[in-house]
Symmetry: C2
Subunit: 828 residues, 2 copies
Amino acid sequence: MPRLNIALDLPPPLPSLPNQPHPSPSPLQQLINNTLSSTDYDLCCIPLTNARWQTRWERLCLRLTEDEDLASPEASKHREEVDREADMWRREGGLSREEVNVCRLEETPHLIGLGPEWLDLDSPDEGIRFDSELALRAEMAHAIYVSLPTIIIAGPSIANRHFLPSYARAIAGLLQMNSTTTNTKISIRIPISDPVELISQGPSQPGTNPTQKLPESTSTGSKHKRMSSLSTRPMSIHQSQVNTLQQNQLQQQQQQVPGQGVRTFSGTSAASSTMSARTVVPSAAGDPCTTWEMWDYIRTVCGHDPRLSVTLDLTNPLPPSVGALARWTAEPVSYIWLPAGSFIPNAKGYPVLSKACQAFLRGMAKLSPTYILSGTTMSRHPAGGPTAYLQYLRHITTTPGPGVGMSLANGASAVGDLGAGYSDFLQAPLQPLMDDLGSATYDVFERDPVKYRQYEAAIYLALMDLPQEKTHAIAVAGAGRGPLVACCLSALVRAERKAKIYAVEKNASAFLTLQERKALEWHDAVDIISGDMRKVVLPEQVDLLVSELLGSLGDNELSPECLDGAARFLKPDGFSIPMSYTAHIAPVSSSKLHYEVSLPTRPAGAAETPYVVMMSAVNALSGEGPGPSGRCGERIQQCWQFEHPRKDLILGDDGLPLNNTHNTRSAHMSFHIPHAGPLHGLAGYFEAHLYGNIGLSIHPENMSLVSPDMFSWFPLFFPFIEPLHLPSNCELVVSLWRLTDRVKVWYEWCAEAFLPLEEIRSERRVSAQQIIGISSMGLGGGAPSPYMDAPTSPIYPTHGNYLAGGGRVKIGQTRLHNVGGKCSSIGL
Amino acid sequence: MPRLNIALDLPPPLPSLPNQPHPSPSPLQQLINNTLSSTDYDLCCIPLTNARWQTRWERLCLRLTEDEDLASPEASKHREEVDREADMWRREGGLSREEVNVCRLEETPHLIGLGPEWLDLDSPDEGIRFDSELALRAEMAHAIYVSLPTIIIAGPSIANRHFLPSYARAIAGLLQMNSTTTNTKISIRIPISDPVELISQGPSQPGTNPTQKLPESTSTGSKHKRMSSLSTRPMSIHQSQVNTLQQNQLQQQQQQVPGQGVRTFSGTSAASSTMSARTVVPSAAGDPCTTWEMWDYIRTVCGHDPRLSVTLDLTNPLPPSVGALARWTAEPVSYIWLPAGSFIPNAKGYPVLSKACQAFLRGMAKLSPTYILSGTTMSRHPAGGPTAYLQYLRHITTTPGPGVGMSLANGASAVGDLGAGYSDFLQAPLQPLMDDLGSATYDVFERDPVKYRQYEAAIYLALMDLPQEKTHAIAVAGAGRGPLVACCLSALVRAERKAKIYAVEKNASAFLTLQERKALEWHDAVDIISGDMRKVVLPEQVDLLVSELLGSLGDNELSPECLDGAARFLKPDGFSIPMSYTAHIAPVSSSKLHYEVSLPTRPAGAAETPYVVMMSAVNALSGEGPGPSGRCGERIQQCWQFEHPRKDLILGDDGLPLNNTHNTRSAHMSFHIPHAGPLHGLAGYFEAHLYGNIGLSIHPENMSLVSPDMFSWFPLFFPFIEPLHLPSNCELVVSLWRLTDRVKVWYEWCAEAFLPLEEIRSERRVSAQQIIGISSMGLGGGAPSPYMDAPTSPIYPTHGNYLAGGGRVKIGQTRLHNVGGKCSSIGL
């Protein structure tokens, strides 16, 4: 694991004294320098403004409800003066010198700025919302002025879900404030869980630290409960409450058409309180996703702006579900906020993290987040002192251990140095049939010992099935620089068989290497033939056709088309190695890949091309089938299969198939999505059956059994241009086609999402039977009720298909990608 | 109603005789010419190909299952010859001369071509799907070659919903076949209802013609049930059925990792049959939307291609719900297919349409569809003969009558000639503060008699509330060419009051007209003052401030900002006319507006600008509140209100407010969506309270009461760039803001969709209680069961918020539009 940045959340520094000459470096610079030079921290974290600013803002923009009674002329006059000052501030904006903690350009390079915690961008009071936004815009303007790299902004209130759109809109507005020369990033502090949601899911929370209490700071209500907005907004908090409680009456009043009398309703924002605040609940499956959904909402409103990231706050307990945690690995988590309270004491009293938390942090490490330690000086743990937290964090973030979730980066552990730098990097898939590969590319692939070991084993087994006495013939189709030829030669020795080897290669440059190897190593054992395997003529039919034409999805480098041509060489009872291969896909979420694919600097249609990617910041969305409806398949599903040689093809006079339609394929797969997430694309894998019990696999669940430590292939990524929001427990139907015309082969793909009704229905069935059981037991003893069958008719619709297929509601779909192979194509 | 095109579905013409010299005009030309010249039809409709083509395709591409036994060498050899011919056809494609009904360019101008009915683009058999697509591509290529304006393609099979993606992909591929010089449009024939769905909804079907039987042609299964695909596809229909029935076993087999033995599964498309065919059911609310959802799926897959339209087939009964029918008014319905069987005989035996069908067709007339009459010669009705259908259709499509659904085109009926050509035309809203209006624009607005009648009535009432003896003062703020001045003068006469009138106008050109009218008409009764109402000085304070600054949403032409400035003229107890105004919105669907907004020829950001539109091909998505959850508001909801004069503002030395933040507004509204549809935007309306009981309204439900026949304002349209799919019975939360900074005022908007869980829960509650009722009645007589309360605990989660707020699942959202007023702004 590479060294990760760790920041210290500093206590607010002493306010600068206005009338003393400024020292250089400033007190803040000195504080930062001292901290970083005396400890192992990389950065400091500090509130951008101080309590004076909070005091002024609250004086100007809030009013205690009790204060409404301004009977005395003095109070009234004072209020008017404050209101005038507030209106002047609203016009001019800005902070004053003594209200900010950071004011020099020199102070910011090693600094993370914290926005105020006390603002209420999602207050139920419209005036407080707008004034909070004005205040935050002042902080953002100041952050930009002092070139602060990042400002961390307190997240929305969990309780005020109804006003989350206002919070998100304010953030979208902040992102517009950067000019072309400035780039202060925004990170939203989002709690890892909603404690109320966790409680509602019952007592079993394996990931929760049992010694941890729910922190007081997790307010679930408005921050300014007892205050109302300023006078120029007619709707006070009092009226707002009235609205919530008496909305039906008010709505009736509003239904009066104008012109039929004086309106009794004088509020400005009639509709802003027609819903109770907290109405989003965990899904029926109990996916704890409230806080993630807040983030998802904000970033979607902001159009996936890359300058927006998450500061994941671990103050609250971890949710118990590994799946719910894993979704953060696909999000732009730039910071992880670790308060001292999230540590537990070990046997000696030193602060350590729970096993679940360690596993989670290890899983997050691939995002290279910066950790922010907070409250380390508050002596919450008996041993170790303030630096114990830092030392422990350094320890666990530099020692490997089990992470969280299923890794989709197959071979990542084995790739080692070879894979470094490839993480989430989009590569166009190779098109070896159209383009000749360079020697360096061959070199990389030939370094994979596993792949050729498997090939040699397969060839050995195939040879053992041939009679020992005869001299056989082997064709290596697409010999490249000769690694498979070498495998054949070794296998022949081991199997004590004799065979003539024909090595066919169409890349004229690679053919030079083959010439050299024949001259120096192979001599008469190998005949080398230059040309396309679909056209060259071999002097004899062969017993064994060996090729390595597979791409990440198996068939995506045109192995089926090439081997159709090479099958001409085979004797009627000859074998192909590989004998068959299959393609597999899984739906995934990845903000990073989505952003990379959508970059405006990419060529038009880039988002419609499949890419080869070593997947890192990627989360698999699908769970094990069959899901509540019983309709869904596995987590990763097979699309199709190719077998070689095809015996049933009709061939032309040239020995080639008359057309390529037999290599078209289609797959329609249904996935169960247990945890909500945005669908950004499909991950594609292959498995190949070489011979006997020998195979190759980059299928994440099988690879370690079939071909462990093989690293030649990264998965394929099929992007979706517009992310599709998938709620918890929905079903995703993915369609993928392999298509062909006279000149090319290409893929098209699309997806559709449904919410199933089965789960509810089966719950209902159980309930009904339970109830009957209770009733009959209570009234008539243990005998089954004569009405046992009765519930069926009122509860279930009688329509056959409704019952047979099970109901579902379509909730979204994508358009078709890469229609007609317009944007990407694999030339023939 | 304008005259609509009506086409005749001609019986297939006699096949041309291959060896006779071609006459000119051809037999088909003669047939078309005779038909159009001897009747009142405008177009003819004919199948593009004939039965010979069907026979050849079925011979090549299908195989009777019984035929599998090819024991005899002759049968086997024959099969191989056919397979070779099929493979040649797959390579070369194309139709032959005697297989097409249309082959000359001269034949097509008055022709609508029909694609074959017998193809199976969504067959469960992969081979039949691909071969059907190849056949359809051949037809499309021919249609393009002969410049056929439109080809109507048979819709997907309702029963094969699982393979709808394949159907849609094939259509997307066809759309790619047009070159830059050709443009053959595609229209998909979609049934108006799924008969099975209608039956499942019970017997009450007000819109259904009771004499109508379910037509035999509505096959709910595969068209090629007993046939399998050709031999080069290993999966025969038999295997496919095995897959469906025994999928669990097969899935287990597939789970074997390669290398662990020989695979027993040899199919190519393992996943294509893992779902039973018909699994989409009507929503819990019983919205009959199966066939519309098929269309919605296809056009979304095709990326809303404007060359794709609907041919709405009225063969099946109309669905009973007006709301379900109304959604078609927002779709690109180019053709309406009317078979003779959809007519009922009247008392005299002549064919007529049911009242429901008439109303539906009247509602659709605004889309100007072409009607296609079919089967008119089959003597299904005793009287009238073949032309009776045509005559009746001409009759009802040229006589006005009640349509279907709520009209959103306020004033459309009153607009008459003025509105002609404005239907669904996007206009940029006026910005009269930034831009000076031309005299022609004033002229159009002054022609609205209703608006000024209302103004004069309001001024009269206001004057009556002033003492008769004094001389008063009236300011007309934004006098334009003087219509409101004229209103004031008439009202003064009627009210027997005296007043000095000050007319303020900033448009220097309009001021010339005012000068002329003062000189010729008004003389000393009116003082005219040139300048911005926020800056000019009046010689005295006035009693009445009259203005007409309202836009379609009320405040969108900056009336609040302008009147804040003009309020300086008012005496402390003076009045403003209007006294207040409110903004209202409703979510709407409109393929046409979506397409117009997204046109690549529009400037960047065009889709983020609100437009003024006379809405025609638009469907309101919202229903009356509160919806099943009790959370939703009305069909059209109020966003906010502005009142004048504001007494609570803090003013600067210039008499103007210190800032404009008091004119910011926000609204968060929840709508119930009873019928599934794509959200394309928001329709915006205003209502104004002028004085007393006098108002102005373009609110569709109130306008006819408040200000009937007023036509000065069309609604505002806020577009959403990416349509949001809304399922039946969901909830849509819309946020709209009016924002301001120092230089401009603008709107931002976004939306979020939820599926509520309440409905299900309340159903469950009813069921449980019903069951208990039954049990206790059966076993213990009429006494309430002692377990009456028992169901609550197992059925409901105990978490307070779950119960209080009611559960909902978020299913989608939009991003924020027009962030920071970047794309559109109303300058101050």
